[in-house]
């Protein structure tokens, strides 16, 4: 899994590429929590995600909760069908704000 972080006006955009699973989710978690820790809202771009498992979902949830505690937001953008299936299994599709694109995501956190 690769990741890329860029800073936009409204907050960070974190893009992952590859699979977020037991092997890679600790890295994903670290990246996300660092961004949240810098006090800005986050758009997580999932367009490059092939597979995300429960540990990946757990990283998203943890980051989301941390952001909320700090009065920030964390939204998901460009969620692939596979990732959406997993989010639905966890009934998290109603918890996260899911945007069609990164632009929509930035608008949502702005």
């Amino acid at each position: 899994m690769k990741h890329e972080v860029r800073e936009e006006v409204g907050g960070f955009v974190v893009a992952f590429e590859g699979d977020v699973d037991l092997q890679t989710s600790p890295d994903a978690r670290k990246v996300l929590l660092e961004c949240v820790g810098r006090g800005k809202s986050v758009v997580v771009d999932l367009s490059g995600i092939g597979y995300i498992d429960s540990s990946g979902v757990a990283s998203l949830v943890e980051s989301f909760q941390t952001a909320r505690k700090g009065g920030q937001n964390l939204v998901l953008a460009s969620v692939s069908d596979g990732a959406l299936r997993v989010l639905k299994l966890a009934r998290l599709n109603k918890v996260f704000t899911i945007c069609d694109s990164v632009e929509d995501g930035l608008a949502a956190i702005g």
Binding site: D19, D21, L22, Q23, Y51, D53, S54, S55, V57, A58, S59, V61, E62, Q65, G82, R85, V86, L89, A90, R91, V95
Partner: protein, 586 residues
Amino acid sequence: MTPNMTLDPATKAHDVSAFDHLELLSEMGRDFTSSQDMAASLVKAVTHITEYVQADGGALFLLDESGENLICEACVGATEITGLTVPSDQGIVGRSVQNHSAEIIRDVQNDQNFYNKVDQETGFTTRSIICAPLRVKDERIGALELINKRSEDGLFSDEDLRLLEAMSASAGLAIHNARQAEALVEQEVLARELELAAEIQRSLLPDARDDDFPVHGVNIPARTVSGDFYDYFELEDGRICFNLGDVSGKGMNAALLMAKTASLFRCLGKTIHQPGRLMALINDEICETSTRGMFVTMIGGIFDPRSGIVRIANAGHEPALFFDHDGACTPFEAEAPPLGITTFLADGDRYPENEFNIGKGSFYIFTDGVTEGYLEDGSELQVEGLTKILMDGRDKSAAARLNDVVDVIQSSGKPIRDDTTLLCLEQKSGPLVTESVEITQKITVANVDQAIEIISLEIPSQPDRLKLVRNFVTQAAGFCDCSDDVTQDVVIAVDEALQNIIRHAYGNRPDGEIKLKLCRTNVNFIVLIQDFADTIDVTKIKPRDLNDLRPGGLGTHFIREVMDEVSFLTPPEGRGNLLKLVKRIA
């Protein structure tokens, strides 16, 4: 022998004694009561009377159901007019019926009401008539008419008329009684049919089981047949399917829909083990064919005695109650409409499900006939009253506790106002891990034997192998022509199961051994995953409560959600864990 039988017929009527008369009447009465054939009895009665009064002919007319026509039901001598229909306000016979009076017409040709069509058609000459109404109290039944006295002048006497009047009154009563008896027989037939329907309904309820079986139920219909039902049955793998439902309305139509719903559950429940999906299929069937406006509220579920896990779906039914070992109560409210209302479900192709571990608690499902049941003081039992009875009886057996509830409702002195049905699920002994796993293994090993092995794999317990396994499973599922959705689900389940082994069974140790075997049957894709870590306590594997947003612990929930069957078998080497995952592919 009747004393006057030998007398000259011409003088007989005048010498009639009260005894003869009574004898004739009682004979007529016996005829009507002993014979199943009313028409034959009528002919016999008319023959007796005609003979007794010495007339050329006699006819008995009965009013039809509408009361608008008089139909000749029996006739002797003179001309055959059986079946002749006259408007009930015409003719001499009609006049007699309308006026409730007996008449003697010595010269019919001068009577403006005389119906002469029969004479014209047959060439018979009617000279005189006596006619008397048949009635019971104010109810008009018909009339009895005699034609032409067998004497030289052919005229009837007043005495003849009085005799006919007396016999008509008796004949009227006899016919009335015979009709009532017929109606009673019909009622009895209907009652018997209803009783047979109730018997078939009772046969749809499961037989009561021993006290140590986890499910018990009771059903008391408010009428002969019931709109409520409950059922439970064991699956081959040892799990138990159960349900309780309430059809809207009462009576025969509700009973028929109950029979249909209960049968669908039993039939489909044997192959579909996800309550939410099962109920959605039943819903489709009922929506497709149900009478408009009828619906069924139902809770369906599946219970695994090995792990203690209960999974239910509630379609518009009263909240079910779960009391944990300490008596704390959790209600399970309906999150979807009753069956038969709409095929559009918020969760797509299934009713929403709830899952919990029963531990040593008790789970109750009941119909509103229970909570709305009357108490002795005229108030309703309500959920509070029900809770109290169940809690007071917590040391009794489940069956005894359910009977306590029924007793309270039945002892109010009032008739039960609605069908009353309760079901209890509990496992006082706790989960049955060891015994049941053996049973499961016997069955599942047999099933796996029939399966074709696709491919096997051994990996070390290292997270970086998961991606390889996912690709491997994807390829194998494709090899078995699994759809993309099925493949995606199997990949999720295998990945999560391996994660659990790596993290929990081996505690992130990298040198653990994991064996994976992929098989297929005609209908299923089967994954067997074996590890060699310490045997885990399956009762402690609890899917996470989805209302709780803490990270982690999701994997088990994912596996159960996406697979049709998840079970732990006893591994062949006697150590470690063997997990079997089954996904339907056809």
